[in-house]
């Protein structure tokens, strides 16, 4: 025992003691820091994410699998006009806004618009249509089973959303980006 104490009194002994003390301090500090990161809610409280093996952890990717079956595309009725034709017809009616009443304007839109869209336009004054003519080709993009049509007009771009209703494309949404 005396030998051990004497050895601890040497500079190597003090070094050993210091090392043990520092390891202890750092260990406690790390534990404390670890607690801080998990226990102090800064904003909305979010439950910790479980990264432990879940019952279905062997599942891997349980998202959509398109490898074995073809994705059923939108089914357009035979003889029904294509999306770009519907978009062009709708735009011609939408832009024709001077010298018409609201009723006349909506009647012209009706053949190429969904009932939902017409309902949203029920109180619209056609005088507030912000453009007069199409100024370039219509660009179409398929998004899932709906179609987006970008139509350049004087003053900006109109973005139409077309959906298939009973096998026919109809305009269901109008977005406007002034240039």
């Amino acid at each position: 025992m005396r030998t051990v104490l004497r050895l601890l009194g040497t500079r190597y002994g003090i070094g050993l003691i210091l090392a043990i003390v520092i390891l202890g301090v750092v260990g406690i500090a790390k534990a404390f820091v670890g607690d801080r990161t998990t226990n102090i809610p800064i904003g909305p409280v979010v439950s910790p994410v479980s990264t432990a093996a879940a019952p279905d952890s062997s599942l891997g990717d349980d998202s959509v699998d398109d490898t074995a079956t073809a994705v059923p595309g939108p089914s357009l009725s035979v003889n029904a006009p294509t999306a770009d034709k519907v978009a062009a017809r709708f735009m011609a009616a939408w832009l024709k806004h001077s010298g018409v009443t609201g009723e006349q304007w909506r009647t012209a839109l009706k053949p190429n618009a969904t009932t939902e869209l017409l309902a949203k336009l029920k109180d619209t004054d056609p005088a507030s249509v912000p453009a007069d003519q199409v100024t370039g080709p219509i660009h179409l993009a398929l998004q899932g089973s709906i179609t987006q049509a970008d139509v350049p007009v004087n003053g900006g771009t109109v973005h139409l959303r077309l959906v298939l209703v009973k096998g026919r494309w109809q305009v269901d949404g109008i977005d406007w980006d002034p240039s």
């Binding site: 909305p44 939108p74 949203k120 336009l121 899932g144 949404g173």
Partner: protein, 369 residues
């Protein structure tokens, strides 16, 4: 420490430095990185009851300048005075972003819609007030709110539908795209108020099942039983929310249903169908729905127990029920597999961590059922 450091200061420093570098340097760095991530997500909380001072100096958001930020602050201030809950502030600012980019526009003649003026492009000829009145942002904001409060169910409908009911524009869907930016403005000016419950005037953070002022909500209340791209499931492109079969599944925000179908393929490649539970041997998402949100975000909801309640092309409101959870497709038991995508995508290249994503939207996942 002081007696020890008096004995051997040099030795202490050397040992301490060595130990810190050798044993926990990585940990210290990791801690600070994680901490900064957390704070950037949630700094500012969920608003407070404090009235906004419109004469304060505000940080600019995005490309907006001081005048535009001040106009946004006035819109919030008028909303506070009228006791409009924070969802209304987001709707009003999104509307003004579309109509004027938050600029108090005078009559621009040929370049303006008809006789519209001001932040909300209100029309003297349609009874909104005189030009002088409408050019006062306090007046025009109050007129907007007064009409908005008369819109039926304005707190729970899609932002663009509420804005259109007030504005009666020729472009009913144009307001939707400003919802996130308007939320960011409200968060910046009003201490995170777009993360608060949307329809309460006493601001507090939205809990699971409540719709935040941003218009986002959790799709189902339940614990996360499997995370996004974990070590054991590196190809898991979403999170699994543990809920019993038949739990209502809600649209996380307003948007357009762009896909709805059964996706379940038997091990031999034939169609397994979704009129029965799947299994780990079956491939696919089961009954699922993809919703396209403003900002080209897509949310995906998989393994529903029966044909979803919505069809392709449907417009859904925030929190609208779209079906019931189940275990169809590639699934070992009832849960909701939920994905969040950017850039309008649906693949592994566009998938982002739903935990992080929903937290940013003010609707954190993972609350207990």
């Amino acid at each position: 420490m002081s007696p020890i450091s008096r004995v051997r200061p040099g030795l202490l420093i050397a040992i301490a430095a060595t130990l810190v570098l050798v044993c926990c340097g990585g940990g210290v760095v990791a801690f600070f990185l994680n901490a900064s991530d957390d704070v950037s997500d949630q700094a500012g909380g969920c608003g407070s009851g404090a009235a906004i001072n419109v004469d304060a100096k505000f940080p600019n958001v995005g490309s907006l300048g001081p005048d535009q930020m001040r106009n946004a602050a006035i819109i919030i201030s008028v909303g506070q005075q009228l006791k409009v809950p924070p969802r209304g502030w987001v709707i009003a600012i999104a509307t003004a972003l579309q109509e004027s980019r938050l600029r108090n526009l005078p009559n621009l003649g040929q370049n303006n819609d008809h006789d519209s003026v001001g932040l909300f492009q209100q029309r003297p000829s349609q009874g909104w007030g005189t030009i002088a009145q409408i050019m006062d942002p306090v007046y025009s904001s109050r007129k907007f709110y007064e009409k908005m409060l008369q819109v039926e169910n304005w707190e729970t409908r899609a932002l663009t539908d509420v804005a259109q009911a007030v504005q009666r524009s020729a472009f009913p869907d144009a307001y939707a795209k400003h919802e996130l930016f308007a939320s960011l403005i409200v968060n910046t000016l009003a201490g995170g108020a777009a993360r608060a419950v949307g329809n309460l005037t006493n601001l507090r953070c939205a809990a699971a099942g409540e719709i935040a002022a941003s218009g986002w909500t959790v799709p189902a209340k339940g614990p996360i039983v499997s995370g996004f791209r974990t070590a054991s499931r590196p190809t898991h492109q979403g999170v699994d929310i543990g809920v019993p079969k038949g739990t209502p599944v809600h649209a996380a925000a307003a948007g357009t249903v762009i896909r709805m179908r059964c996706n379940a393929i038997a091990p031999n490649g034939s169609d397994w169908g979704c009129d029965r539970d799947g299994s780990p041997q079956v491939l696919g998402c089961g009954w699922y729905v993809d919703i396209l949100h403003p900002g080209a975000y897509v949310t995906r909801y998989c393994h529903m127990v029966s044909r979803p309640l919505v069809n392709v092309g449907d417009q859904v409101a925030p929190g609208q029920q779209i079906g019931w959870s189940g275990s169809t497709g590639h699934s070992s038991g009832p849960h909701l597999h939920f994905e969040t995508h950017i850039n309008g995508g649906e693949t592994k290249d566009t998938a982002v961590d739903p935990i992080r994503f929903m937290q940013d939207m003010g609707a954190p996942l993972g609350a207990a059922p």
